[in-house]
Amino acid sequence: MSLRKLKNRAFIGFCILSALFGLVVLSSVLYSLVGKGIAGMGLPVFTELTPGPGSHGGLKNAIVGSLMLTTLGIVIATPLGILAGTWLSESNQSSKAAEMLRFLNGMLMSAPSILIGLFVYKIVVVTTGSFSGWAGATALAILALPIIVSTTEEMLRLVPTTLKEAGSGLGAPRWQVITKLCYRAAGPGIITGVLLAMARITGETAPLLFTALNSNYMTTDMSQPMANLPVTIYQYAMSPYESWNELAWAGALLITTFILIINILATVLPRWLKARKAAK
């Protein structure tokens, strides 16, 4: 066999091994998540509060807290993100201001999440004088915002100009063309963006550490420190207590399952919406 063929074989072998490498890591992560997560899973996880050191309990307050923080974060970020994305898509593509904002949006998207936590700590926690659910939700909203902005812009740019022209031709003002025509046409894509942003912020731990903090109580009062899954998982996993470690794995399994479901929804839902629209 010639040297050329040998090199070729080695190269192809390397590429196959590389792909296998990622698959092995993924299977190992999922295997340990399911294995150790199910061991700690059970009804008490959903019905009991987070326990004190070394004792048994559940994650009820953390689950409720996480759902509230994530939902509120998305509720804040979605309208702002869609509006900002609309402005970017409507502005002249080569305009300096839009170009700059697009760049800054990218930078915000890639800013380390722990720095968002520090920022919200400074402007919300220090100003109001206490860690709170509001602070946590604000931090999550800032994380979700740039994702929603960029998908909205991309999706609105895909709306055919003829559609907009038809709307304007009927005498509809610009804002109605955008809200009644463009948003409907781009809707499924924007929903995907919102869902992906939600999946992203669900597992975020670092920005909650100094904003929502954590709590062992069941509370729906957003002005108080709020229990949440990621920080609870962090504390329990790092602790020496076995019962806490088990709960941490159960929480990890819960949160990953939730994120996977949202990710699947993000791909399936728009397709379903489009199909329904086509059937009408």
């Binding site: 190269f11 002249n92 760049f103 800054l104 930078m107 380390p112 740039p146 990953t256």
Partner: protein, 313 residues
């Protein structure tokens, strides 16, 4: 937008809705700018006490003594840089290999599910990688690699000292490896997409003159997508620099600069995550926020470079 708004002033009654909508959307867009400026200002303001006291020496000093009130960022910066470098040294070749496998070598029925699985790696939250790294990977790494390395690699000149340390599973090298798993999907996805944009005629021409896949890919395709590949690598580096939770679990939390990659170390983000809520005196808090400022500047420069490269494709 402005021009259309003025054109529409011809229609009475429509002006208000239009200008209001325009203002609302413009205000939301400006909010992005304000948040970013706010982050920078709040980091400077919050860290001022430490920046004023230690000056530029903050970056070069290696002392981190909350009790004595002496703070320097050198060890954390070193840990952040080295762990991120390890991450891209592993993730770039593996990510490129995977991308080539998915885009060029594998048939569709294999590349589709495998591609989806690799993307799934990106959906797993950072804290899960941390737990997995600490409870599953670290013990395996200790027994499977570190003991072996202590016997076989330590005596190699130059790189030997890297592997001369306690085989405890956690440390700088482990943090770097875990980070590489986390940035693998983004590097793979970006280079795979770039490969797919290369027109087929280019491949056909190269295969037509009798080149092997290896030659076609390394001499024709990779040079074509060079910018995108480098951009993907830098983007991965940027991600790794700011990654917090996964690193906090496995890096060990020791504020030292050591030659050995097996030694516990610390990174900027993990130091902030671990100490911020326990910090009681103001100088300690200010020093942690200054660390955040250093991290912000680091990621801003790296990510800015990546974005410019990726755009020039």
């Amino acid at each position: 937008m402005h021009s259309t708004a003025t054109a529409l002033t011809l229609r009475p009654g429509a002006i208000n809705g239009d200008s209001m909508f325009h203002r609302l959307s413009f205000a939301s867009a400006v909010l992005i700018f304000l948040v970013l400026i706010g982050i920078i200002l709040s980091l400077i303001d919050g860290g001022w006490l430490a920046l004023a006291k230690f000056g530029p020496g903050f970056i070069f000093s290696n002392t981190w003594d909350p009790v004595g009130g002496e703070f320097g960022a050198a060890a954390a910066i070193y840990g952040t840089m080295v762990s991120s470098l390890i991450a891209i040294v592993i993730a770039i070749p593996v990510g490129l290999g995977t991308a080539i496998f998915l885009a060029e070598l594998a048939p569709e029925w294999i590349s589709k599910p495998v591609g989806m699985a690799i993307e799934l790696l990106a959906a797993v939250p950072s804290i899960i990688y941390g737990m997995w790294g600490l409870f599953v990977f670290a013990p395996w790494f200790s027994e499977g690699f570190q003991f072996w390395a202590l016997e076989n690699l330590v005596n190699i000149p130059l790189i030997g000292p890297w592997f001369d340390g306690p085989p405890i599973g956690i440390g700088l090298l482990t943090a770097g490896i875990i980070l590489s798993f986390m940035i693998l999907p983004i590097i793979t996805a970006l280079t795979r997409d770039a490969l797919k944009t290369v027109p087929n005629v280019v491949r056909e021409a190269a295969y037509g003159i009798g080149a092997t896949p290896y030659e076609v890919i390394t001499r024709v395709l990779l040079p074509t997508i060079k910018n995108a590949a480098v951009g993907a690598g830098i983007l991965g580096l940027g991600r790794a620099l700011g990654e917090t939770m996964a690193v906090a679990f496995v890096i060990g939390g020791a504020n030292r600069i050591e030659t050995s990659l097996f030694m516990p170390a610390s990174s900027i983000s993990s130091t902030i995550a671990q100490q911020f809520n326990e910090a009681t005196n103001e100088l300690h808090i200010a020093s942690l926020i200054s660390l955040g400022l250093v991290l912000f500047i680091l990621t801003f420069v790296v990510m800015g470079a990546a974005r410019i490269l990726l755009r020039k494709r």
